[in-house]
Amino acid sequence: MGYIELNVLNNVDQPMALGIDLGTTNSLAATWKDGRPVVLKPEGGHGGSVPSVVHFAEGGGATIGRKALNKATIDPRGTIFSIKRFMGRGLADVQEELKSFPFPVSEGEHGLLQVDVYGNPMTPQEISALILTRVQQIACQTLPDAELNRAVITVPAYFDDTQRQATRDAARLAGIDVMRIINEPTAASLAYGLDQAKEGKIAVYDLGGGTFDISILSIEDGVFTVLSTNGDTHLGGDDFDRALANLVLAEVADQIGEEALAEPALQRAALIAAEKCKVELSIHPEAGLHLVLPENGVHVRRNVTRDEFEALAAPLIQRSLDACRNALADAELEPSEVSEVVLVGGSTRMPAVRTAVEMFFGRLPHTELNPDEVVALGAATQAHILAGGSRDLLLMDVTPLSLGLETVGGAVSKIITRNSTIPCSATEGFTTYADNQTGIDFNILQGERELAKDCRSLGQFSLKGIPPMPAGMARVAVRFHVDADGLLTVTAREESTGAKSSIEVKPKHGLTDQQVEQMLEDSLTNAKEDFEASRAAGLKTEIGIMVHATEKSLPTVEDHLDPEQLLDVREAVDAAKAARESDSMDPKLLQKVRDELERATMPLAAMLMDGVAKKALSGRELSDF
């Protein structure tokens, strides 16, 4: 008897995973399908991208994405946008931004920022979680058979530890298993490097809605090594909008006075008008910049030429080029040594940006891929690699910022310098500075500045149990390890005694594990409440129909019912009416009332059926009842 060979392996579906670009203005998911990354677009939809906007109605109820965007002018206070700018930040970090945001932001527990949504505080993590949920939902609609709860999520290269952790927390709240957080420009280079077996140095210029990133990578044999990254966390398309908005607001001030400018709806309307004008200027040499709000007495209609706009844009573009210069210096390269330039982010559609980048690097930048999609495509590629789907490519990423310890006098001793390839480890020796000192406190820092107070503190920990000895005799080895996820672990060990202490760094403005758990629990409770409310509403409708039907048919059959049966029906109907009109949204109670009504009206229903049958036979229509 022969054997039939079964090639089981070939029948196993590749595990699918998402790549999600969680952007300042738009978010998008992609996945690996049939040997390449594809953006997940719902049929007939808007290209799959979800505006990163959440609207909260007064009294509850959130809408996410395109529908929320439409609420921006009607209800600016409840429409939360650009939340990415607040991720993992403290109130002091965002003072500048707050001036142009119409919604109130305050500081909650643990220095955590929160947006006050009609008296209900929401953290940036929770709001981002809503956006992620929507993105995942669209992905699931596009690929209904796939299980898509694992994802690689991208962040700007310049995001520090706290901001990355905040992004992880947001995903966790959305029920997404984060496989890896990767840098947006790196993701973009993966998407570009795929088709051609490219060799050489690539510069990825990523000007998004809110942030600017530049990364220099080298590609050799399918291995992508990030050489350096630089950027500006406060430079993006929004700033170009702001520059144009100021132009129109200056004229508004002449009409209605300087004081009236603070009105959030006016500010928001000006930004929207500015963005529209900016987009048009990318295509036409001249565009209208109109701000007409009759209720505010605002009527400004003016034209802006491309030259005018480019004069406003020049200092912003110059800032991006400064960052490019720094990134090249870190990579020890001249602009001419870069063989490919890749543009990412919607703001790179501006002709002025394209020209400036072309001049700077002395070559025409790549624009084959949609700049709005390229990051998500690259993230999907990395997700595919991490899911075990491919070994063709390898991404060797770097730490974006230096990591070190505070030393005596508030100085910083850098232990891992920025742009080190991860995973990486480094050990540095420290000693005591006082006689018989038995413990050392360590303050872990992230940043490039020389003084501890100018860097971001990631956490503190202490090593105890050092035996008493003269100052400078103790030998303490501090080891920093940054894993492939970019997460830092610090271990300190005294060599003579082996006293040891270690810490997994938890960032300051991040959520504690308890907070995340509490939020998850809250969202589950809320989900239960939401579910019960909709079930109750359904039952009330059903009860209403039953009561109406009973009352309508009762006169025709009541003579044939026992007095007891009749009383039973009347009581059940009264109870049902009362329950329907009550405020109760308890589905259990309503279910009981409904069942009771059904039971009481059983004889009535039987009789009706009988009557219907007879009357139907006598030529009357069913619909007459």
């Binding site: 595990p15 890896r180 050799e220 291995v223 075990g388 390839t421 480094a426 492939a484």
Partner: protein, 212 residues
């Protein structure tokens, strides 16, 4: 050359067997950067070969390829990859490679031998004077020009120090040799040059910002 404990093939690196692809534990023993990358222990290195070794080996040990593996395998991949990256950084940078070799051959550390070469000391005194005057200089002045000239001088001086180091370390001296003290002194000079160059750079940045 040691053999793989699983398939007994000759190992290129103690981190992974390239024949049977098994990740190997190096727990409790020091792996030299030369061993880790599987390159010959000597001063002269070929940067291209070094990079190739890093990429080739990373293809076998990178944690991205073990993301769905057992925790133990993931940890081995994490450690092996960190060891490779650290080894590459140590070897590709001339002063770091020299520092490693001096220590490995039992030479003095930078706290045990703080001297710089005699001839170099005289120049340091001169340079310090130029630096002193350059602090607070504005673009276009003589002090400014002196600072730019100093930058160029330091660069060529650095080259010379590194050539001296190369000469002392080719071929590698015996463990504990006198030459190692000389190399340490040269390394101290290189460190002085690097610090001074960093200061010049920030002075220049300050001046150009102040002038703007």
């Amino acid at each position: 050359m040691s053999l793989c404990p699983v398939c007994e093939a000759t190992l290129t690196t103690p981190l992974v067997c390239l024949n049977c692809k098994t990740l190997l534990s190096t727990e409790g023993r020091e792996v030299s950067p030369f061993e880790a990358l599987g390159v010959e222990r000597r001063w002269e290195i070929d940067p291209k070969q070094l990079k190739r070794a890093l990429l080739d080996l990373s293809r076998h040990v990178h944690p991205d390829y073990f993301a769905t593996a057992e925790p133990e395998q993931r940890e081995l991949a994490e450690q092996a990859s960190a060891t490779l990256n650290e080894a590459f950084e140590t070897l590709r940078d001339d002063p770091r490679r020299a520092d490693w070799l001096v220590r490995a051959l039992g030479g003095p550390s930078d706290s045990e031998e703080r001297q710089m070469p005699q001839a170099f000391l005289m120049q340091v005194l001169e340079w310090n004077e130029v630096l002193e005057e350059a602090r607070g200089a504005t673009a276009g002045t003589d002090e400014w020009q002196a600072m730019i000239d100093l930058g160029a001088e330091l660069s060529s001086e650095r080259e010379e120090r590194l050539e001296a180091i190369a000469a002392q370390l080719t071929p590698l001296p015996a463990a504990g040799a006198e030459a190692l003290i000389e190399v340490r002194r040269e390394l101290n000079a290189v460190r002085y040059i690097d610090r001074t160059r960093a200061e010049l750079k920030s002075l220049r940045l300050e001046a150009s910002l102040g002038g703007a």
